[in-house]
């Protein structure tokens, strides 16, 4: 820096920078707009920040695999029951097409993936629901996969972490979907009675039959900031009671304040929090010695 630049007043310096230095060219697909604060963010920056807006901390939605990647140690995720997929048991109109479309959009067979992985070396069963597959709705295969994951955890004395995201039971499978609420709850109970740890992470949105079953049955219930957590969704309630709902109603923070969530955790601290909880419950001690 020469002397002339050095003695120039600061505001002029800034001005000169604007004119002298051209902004780097960035193609459109590399930008993403934060839906909350409207800031344009570089896609690479968002990815690096675990898809959290650096300006307003808005948590972008993640799909099931992104969630697993975010917390599992590298290359430790082993998927279970990957091949199971829904069929149109009740011959419900339009369901076949919907399933096909969801498979294409999400690249998955179902609205949930299950498996085992390691968190800082601690073996854990992991269940991750997918909003990209029929809004994470729970059909019979979803319920069965989750039940199997709990049974596996019980048989092998493993803790389990479940990421929930769901619009509720899948109406295209009628009453059989509803039955999955009882079935998964039964599997949670057997896991719990075996003295094993179950941590839920509620993500945006978790509602209906999933909220009214395994989502609310964790020993410890965590939630992502601002996630909608509801039994009945806001629109249904507004239609029923014919009045506007208060602001922030049914957000994770609201539900925590009402006493139904243990802790709202920023995504960037989630893995650390989970590992800490696992250690507090005496998992992973053998590896440490």
């Amino acid at each position: 820096m020469d002397l002339f630049t050095f003695i120039k007043p600061k505001n002029e310096l800034e001005k000169s920078n604007e004119t002298d230095v051209k902004k780097p060219y960035v193609p459109d697909e590399m930008w993403e707009k934060c839906p909350e604060c409207g800031t344009l963010l570089l896609t690479t920056d968002i990815e690096e920040n675990l898809r959290v807006c650096s300006k307003c901390n808005h948590h972008f939605r993640l799909n099931a695999r992104e969630r697993v990647e975010m917390i599992a140690d590298n290359d430790t995720f082993v998927e279970m029951d990957k091949e199971l997929e829904s069929v149109n048991i009740l011959d419900f109109p339009g369901y076949d097409e919907k399933l096909e479309k969801s498979k294409k959009v999400s690249g998955e067979h179902e609205s949930v993936i299950c498996g085992t992985c390691k968190l800082d070396g601690i073996e854990t069963v992991i269940v991750s629901m997918n909003s990209e597959f029929m809004m994470g709705s729970m059909g019979t295969v979803t319920g069965d996969k989750i039940t199997r994951a709990f049974e596996y955890a019980t048989e092998n004395s493993l803790p389990i972490v479940v990421f929930t995201v769901s619009g509720g039971a899948r109406m295209q499978e009628g009453i059989l979907s509803l039955m999955q609420m009882a079935k998964t709850s039964g599997a949670v109970k057997l896991h719990s009675d075996a003295g094993l740890l179950y941590i839920t992470v509620l993500t945006d949105p978790t509602s209906g039959g999933v909220t009214a079953s395994f989502a609310m049955e964790g020993d410890i219930i965590l939630a992502e900031p601002k996630a909608l957590i509801a039994f009945a969704g806001p629109r249904v309630i507004e239609q029923t009671i014919r009045q506007k709902l208060p602001k922030d109603f049914q957000t994770a923070e609201f539900v925590q304040q009402k006493g139904f969530v243990d802790k709202v955790v920023d995504r960037r601290h989630l893995k650390k929090t989970l590992v800490n909880l696992l250690k507090i419950h005496n998992y992973g001690e053998v590896e440490a010695q």
């Binding site: 009740l90 109406m171 509803l178 039964g186 989502a215 609310m216 009945a232």
Partner: protein
């Protein structure tokens, strides 16, 4: 009768409600017990103890009310979280004294409202599902009218589920289903058909064990035979070890939608 006719019949205000069944089956031996010991007494859920022939029983029902005044007071059978928590309190009490549990289901669904959400409607139902599954005492559920989704199953995690011939049990109301699927709630009749919600459909799907002929008010002979049927089922299940009973109950639900590996 079409599926939607069944829905209309299940919703009919002329239908017998849980209180009618309790009075006809338990007579003067019934003592109502109130409150969830936590927040309030939800009148959409009626519960208590009584004698069924020679068997002491805990009985719990979702109650819609029998006239306009009662219906308002009982919130048309749409329970709040405290209603489900009251039911669970009474079920735990039944387990302690090894009394069988009889539930009557008749609700359009768990109530959707601000207070219900604030007090954890989802958590209340979830907890019932989990705890009922492990009860070490016999549980029998009888659907007498509408079985509306989560609000119904919260009282129906049972060893056996029976339905009156004109009762329905569904994951969503036909109107709700039609408005989501076709953006048109007037197509409810079509949706009712698709949802497979009649007693006959559910029996064929393996979700219920028995379809019952519906008694009418004053038809005491019908109630006597219903009482006998319930007592026989309880006697059979009281002879089974509690833990084994809970395991059988889990397997009953476990097989629904089971995928072969």
């Amino acid at each position: 009768m079409s599926a939607f006719d069944k829905v209309a019949a299940a919703r009919s205000t002329k239908k017998l409600t849980s209180v009618d069944y309790i009075n006809a089956l338990f007579g003067e031996s019934f003592i109502e017990l109130h409150g969830d010991r936590n927040y309030a007494d939800d009148k959409a859920v009626v519960g208590g103890v009584g004698m069924l022939n020679n068997i002491p029983v805990t009985v719990i029902g979702l109650e819609k009310g029998r006239n306009t005044f009662e219906r308002m007071e009982r919130n048309f059978g749409a329970a709040h979280p405290e209603g489900y928590r009251k039911a669970l309190r009474l079920m735990k009490q039944a387990e302690k004294f090894h009394r069988p549990i009889l539930t009557f289901v008749d609700t359009s669904g768990a109530f959707c409202g601000i207070g219900a959400e604030e007090r954890g409607q989802g958590q209340a139902i979830a907890n019932n599902l989990m705890e009922m599954m492990a009860l070490k005492t016999p549980v029998l559920s009888v659907f007498i009218g509408e079985g509306g989704s989560g609000g119904a199953i919260a009282l129906a995690v049972a060893d056996e589920v029976w339905m009156m011939e004109n009762a329905v049990y569904s994951v969503i109301s036909p109107e709700g289903c039609a408005s989501i699927l076709w953006k048109d709630s007037s197509k409810a009749a079509e949706a009712a058909e698709c949802l497979k919600l009649t007693a006959k459909d559910l029996f064929e799907l393996g979700v219920i064990e028995r379809i019952l002929r519906e008694p009418v008010a004053g038809e005491q002979k019908m109630f006597e035979s219903l009482k006998l049927l319930i007592c026989r089922t309880f006697e059979k299940n009281l002879a089974v070890d509690g833990a084994e009973l809970a395991l059988r109950r889990y397997n009953r639900f476990r097989k629904i939608g089971r995928q072969e590996p």
